[in-house]
């Protein structure tokens, strides 16, 4: 009997130690197994399709649209922005790691020196400012939207690879997590109410996508050619559910994107995609 008690106490300590180390990776794995239990037939890699993963008809429509996407000419405009030298004569490729290729999955990242989350849009704007140009507005579909849409295509196939290392990074992550799970607004929803608890179910005729995979494919082109960035989508959801939305680029949204992207770690990136 005594032995058992000691063994249990030992276990208690182990459990205690485990939860003391609970962090982003544990959060992510919990979600992965939650969805695996709920939807055992869904393959992990298919989470990149968001709500389409639950709707074979909509998915096959999507597949045929994606064979010749209606937004290709928009991406070409983005390519032109990408290739146009900045005032200093340098290009974006000159000032980003690896020439800007296969890096989008590392963003957002936490910059210890500056003590804040840097999104890919921030990195592009830093590049502009360092080379004599003014920053673009964070979610402007005609400038930053197009530029980031093209730039992300250079990372197609890269796996999301967000890192949370150090105290500052963890704080930003926790802040984003809080925004995601906190119930708020007149309707008393959190992001998680819809994209965790009710993911895979229909709310009226809309199928709710799971949080995992949601960040892998931005900007999206809604209705074919209307560019929407990830943070614009945050604004949209918050408006729909009567939260008070922030502006794209706010600290709250950047921290949310940091947490949100971590939950897609290990999934393949693909830009851009069609959304209805």
């Amino acid at each position: 009997m005594k032995k058992i008690v000691i063994a249990l106490a030992g276990l208690g300590i182990l459990v205690g130690a485990f939860s003391a180390y609970a962090g982003p990776e544990e959060d992510r794995q919990k979600l992965v197994s939650y969805f695996k239990n709920k939807y055992p037939d869904l393959k992990f890699d298919d989470y990149i399709y968001s709500a389409l993963a639950f709707d074979p008809d909509a998915k096959s429509q999507y597949n045929s649209i994606m064979e010749f996407p209606p937004y290709l000419s928009e991406l070409e405009k983005g390519e032109k922005l990408w290739n146009t030298p900045l005032k200093s004569g340098k290009t974006y490729a000159d000032c980003l790691p690896n020439g800007g290729k296969m890096i989008a999955g590392n963003y957002p990242l936490f910059d210890d020196a500056r003590g804040k989350v840097i999104t890919l849009e921030d990195a592009l704007n830093d590049c502009r400012k360092a080379n004599g140009e003014e920053a673009y507005k964070n979610a402007d579909p005609k400038t930053m939207g197009l530029l980031s849409a093209y730039m992300r295509t250079l990372s197609d196939g890269m796996k999301v690879n967000i890192k949370v290392v150090g105290e500052g990074a963890l704080k930003a992550y926790e802040d984003g997590k809080k925004t995601f799970y906190r119930r708020a607004g007149q309707l008393n929803f959190s992001c998680g109410s819809c994209h965790v608890d009710n993911a895979g179910l229909r709310i009226r005729s809309e199928l709710l996508s799971p949080v995992i995979g949601q960040t892998t494919h931005w900007p999206a082109f809604r209705g074919g050619d209307k560019l929407v960035t990830l943070q614009k989508r945050y604004e949209g959801c918050q408006k729909n559910v009567r939260h008070s939305p922030d502006k794209a680029g706010s600290t709250r949204y950047n921290n949310l994107e940091y947490f949100h992207s971590y939950m897609s770690n290990g999934l393949e990136m693909k830009s851009s995609v069609f959304r209805k």
Binding site: L187, N198, L201, I203, R204
Partner: protein, 113 residues
């Protein structure tokens, strides 16, 4: 001229008032997306025009039998989180999504389901 304008205004105001309040039935309130929007989450299997309901809440059917005490039903709608803190259902009364009168109408409507 001014008189006519004021008459028109008065008529319009009455029309608006009646369509916004008096004429609105419990069903209207339950179906309206910017009011109860109950169909977002609940099917109403006995109503053929309750089209494309959501799936997250239980179907609203046989309400009178299942909620013999009307007060219990009303309380569920007023604040679903009181009986189930995790409830996905918005607290219609507590958060003033619906007025007290609107909730009364919805309860009567549900009793007919």
């Amino acid at each position: 001229m001014r008189k006519r304008t004021s008459i028109i205004t008065a008529v319009l105001a009455t029309l608006l008032a009646s369509s916004a309040y008096a004429a609105e039935t419990g069903k209207d309130i339950a179906f309206n997306r910017s009011k109860g929007n109950c169909l977002a989450c609940h099917g109403m299997p006995t109503l053929p025009d309750a089209e494309q309901p959501g799936e997250s809440g239980p179907p609203l059917i046989a309400m009178q039998a299942r909620f013999p005490d009307k007060k219990v039903l009303r309380a569920k709608i007023w604040d679903a989180t009181a009986s189930n803190p995790e409830s996905f259902m918005p607290p219609m009364g507590k958060h003033q999504i619906l007025t007290e009168q609107e909730i009364d109408k919805v309860v009567e409507f549900l009793y007919g389901l």
